[in-house]
Symmetry: C2
Subunit: 86 residues, 2 copies
């Protein structure tokens, strides 16, 4: 069965995020009252697995493989079965 | 009051995503059965607003300001009030 997974990979708290700082500067300049802006990556993917627990395990293994363990944290934001279209 | 917002910005379906293709190649090489891998950006930020509807409106305006309307779509993935720490 196919599953759709959404994985977030973000810098750990305390790791300097220059991109987030830049975006914060832009938003503040536009008049938005924002702070602590952090920019990370989101991955959307479809994976083949026999069951939902297997899909979850596979998605977490993928997140682990793509994240830098020293600087980043990851989370499985969403996992849902994909309807097969005939 | 302060709110924490999580915003996703992703390429529209149909827009070629070279980074997603590259990640898909790596994952396939590692033995994962994945397809349609798409890589986007996630923004985490704190914003000041008088109410939750105002915070939502502000977060969506920020997402609109940061996304490229021709190539990208955005979504407010999560919005929650931040506990004030004294």
């Amino acid at each position: 069965m196919k599953y759709h997974a959404t994985i977030l990979i973000e810098l750990k708290d305390g790791i300097l995020d220059p991109q987030g700082r830049a975006v914060e500067g832009v938003l503040t300049g536009l008049g938005y009252r924002v702070e602590n802006v952090r920019v990370g990556r989101v991955l959307e993917l479809e994976l083949e697995a026999a069951s939902e627990p297997e899909a979850r395990e596979s998605a977490l293994a993928i997140a682990r493989a793509l994240a830098n363990p020293v600087m980043e944290v990851y989370a499985l934001e969403a996992l849902r079965p994909l309807q097969e279209v005939l």
